[in-house]
């Protein structure tokens, strides 16, 4: 078992290396002279040269790569031109906002998608099956930013139920003391219900916008996987042996249907990390996606590079976690390998 997990870890390493290499290549595709960018618009030729030397851009590509990797290992992702801060510090500052949003969306997608898919599998051809199909198709085709704007228009402008899409918390409130960095949890931990409600109401629309995207794939995969398992020989044996219906459904069917659903959850998480960027823009969310886009449009490239690396690394970690969980859930993996 430990050997298997170690194996999965080892398999993730080439991916990590690939991510680092590709990000390096991407940022060195920049047209024009990065030194000129970093030196600023009013730089003289001498200061551009000095910037070039300081940034190590006068070294060979290989040497630059070595410097880059060394910097990464030390946590140096460069500095942001806009904020003047080290990129790493900026990212750490803004990560919790993105995390809370993404995890909230994943939770929503799981809580809606999996039961929907299950009901569709248990009653094929019924209205719930058709609903599942419709929601999945619509969710896949719906542009995330459009949905966000629609929700803002309906629930904020027309109905006045939702607060203004201006970020994580209305300026009247102070954020809760940091424990988990998730403001929903932290405000509950100090028992401040009005704060919790303020945080939550800012969170709902962005989470629904982002999460709806994930409902489709999860529902579809749950339905397909469960349907297949329900018609399997071993479920037939369980029924024939007179096992109670809920045990057949959960212990015999659902557990066996789980692995493809877990893999889909990983894929959904990847979509969410990407679509995060769009949702943050629509809702003025102070996360790393918005940070990267602001930087990008201002030709400030270090934050963009940092953002891409962090997202990719995070995704590799998530996949690794799913791989490990799969091994725990499905013992077949142990002796198939």
């Amino acid at each position: 078992m430990v050997r298997l997990i170690a194996g999965r870890l080892a398999a993730a390493v080439p991916n990590l290396i690939g991510v680092i290499v590709i990000t390096f290549i991407l940022t060195h595709l920049l047209p024009g002279d990065p030194a000129a960018y970093f030196a600023g618009p009013s730089a003289t030729a001498a200061s551009v040269e000095e910037t070039r030397h300081r940034l190590g851009l006068d070294h060979s590509l290989i040497e630059q790569f070595a410097l880059y990797v060394k910097g990464l290992a030390q946590g140096d992702l460069g500095n942001s031109l806009i904020s003047g801060q080290p990129v790493l510090a900026d990212l750490i500052n803004r990560l919790p906002a993105s995390f809370e949003l993404t995890f909230g969306a994943l939770l929503l997608a799981v809580v809606i998608g999996i039961p929907l898919g299950m009901q569709a599998a248990l009653h094929p051809g019924s209205w719930i099956d058709r609903l599942c199909n419709a929601i999945s198709t619509l969710g896949q085709a719906m542009p995330t930013f459009f949905l966000g704007l629609l929700l803002v228009f309906v629930f904020y402008y027309l109905l006045g139920w939702a607060p203004a899409p201006l970020g994580r918390l209305d300026s009247m409130f102070e954020p809760p003391p940091t424990v988990t960095t998730f403001w929903t949890i932290d405000s509950l931990l100090v028992g401040d219900l009005s704060l919790f409600w303020a945080v939550f109401s800012q969170l709902i629309l962005p989470v629904v916008t982002l999460g709806l995207f994930g409902v489709g794939p999860l529902a579809r995969m749950t339905r397909a996987s469960l349907l297949e398992v329900l018609s399997s020989d071993y479920v037939r044996t369980a029924r024939a042996a007179g096992l109670p219906r809920h045990q057949v459904l959960w212990t015999y069917a659902f557990r066996n249907a789980l692995v493809p659903v877990l893999n889909t959850a990983g894929m959904v998480f990847s979509f969410l990390l990407g679509a995060n960027v769009l949702v943050e823009k629509v809702f003025g969310w102070p996360g790393i996606g918005a940070y990267a886009i602001e930087a990008l449009l201002a030709s400030d490239f270090a934050p963009v590079q940092g953002f891409v690396i962090v997202m990719a690394l995070f995704y590799v970690l998530v996949n690794l976690t799913i791989d490990v969980v799969t091994v725990l859930v499905d013992p077949r993996v142990a002796f198939d390998a």
Binding site: G18, P143, F145, F146, Y157, G274, V277, A312
Partner: protein, 280 residues
């Protein structure tokens, strides 16, 4: 094997929804091709006297902050969005299948290295990668096309690789090889025709995704610049006007965008029915 007769049979046996989807696709393509010649107003020229008008008989979709007719802009944007998506899918289809076929045929370390490359692309959340590539290549339409193409590439590469790999050891392929046919001709004449149907289904779905990707990048401000008409950028313009209530600015481009992607999704299902009705 697919032949004339079985395709004809499957066309007749299609669900009505599929036929509608194909018809809508034809309509969409028609709009893309000749729409710009038929629009009532110039999509680019401002008309300040008529700015921010809600939908009315003269302007069915209303006007934007510069007085430009939104309907005209939406129609003209169809060509741009479809062209970007089509170019991206075509590039990734060709590059992906060539890479995949090469990997599937060669096997060994070539396969492994290419596999690693593909895996690494897939290790990025795809939109993030698109942003990164578009950033690296500069803020232009071609970088959006390339970014979308690279991000879509793995699907084609994987599918082609597995199909070619599967057939590589088939008896008829071995026979052809021994008879002196070059690998290139074997792959292109014997193997690829079998790979084409699933690739076509995949392409339709990828078109939808490419449109969303391109519109998303434009929404953020990458690629398409004003005053060009493109669905994503129009939604982005309209976003600022929501709080003042001018909903038509973002709703119409967004809705058309949604419908276009839906059409491609349904066409993909229809293609799957035609090409492989067993797998519903």
């Amino acid at each position: 094997m697919l032949d004339q007769a079985s395709i004809a049979y499957r066309l007749r046996a299609m669900r009505p929804g599929s036929l509608i989807a194909l018809a809508l696709l034809a309509l969409l393509i028609l709009v893309a091709l000749i729409g710009s010649y038929l629009v009532p107003y110039d999509p680019l020229s401002p008309d300040p006297k008529h700015a921010l008008m809600p939908p009315n008989p003269a302007h069915l979709f209303g006007t934007d902050q510069f007085g430009r007719d939104i309907l005209s802009r939406v129609v003209v944007a169809t060509r741009l969005d479809l062209a970007i998506a089509f170019a991206a899918v075509l590039v990734s289809l060709i590059a992906g299948s060539v890479l995949g076929a090469f990997a599937g045929w060669s096997g060994g370390w070539v396969d492994r290295i290419l596999g690693r490359l593909i895996d690494t692309i897939m290790a990025f959340p795809l939109f993030v990668l698109a942003v990164g590539i578009a950033a690296g290549l500069g803020n232009s339409i071609s970088s959006v096309v390339i970014a979308t193409a690279i991000v879509n590439l793995p699907f084609y590469a994987r599918q082609t690789r597995s199909e070619v790999n599967r057939r590589r050891t088939a008896a008829y392929v071995e026979a052809a090889y021994l008879s002196g046919f070059s690998p290139l001709s074997i792959v292109s004449l014997h193997i690829m025709p079998n790979v084409v149907p699933p690739l076509m289904v995949q392409s339709s779905l990828n078109m939808g995704w490419a449109i969303l990707n391109a519109a998303g990048l434009s929404f953020i401000g990458l690629g398409v610049r004003p005053p060009q008409a493109e669905w994503g950028i129009m939604v982005s313009d309209g976003a600022t006007n929501i709080i003042s209530g001018e909903w038509w600015m973002f709703v119409f481009p967004g809705a058309v965008l949604l419908i276009a992607v839906l059409i491609f999704s349904l066409v993909g299902d229809a293609l799957r029915d035609i090409l492989d009705p067993k797998r519903r």
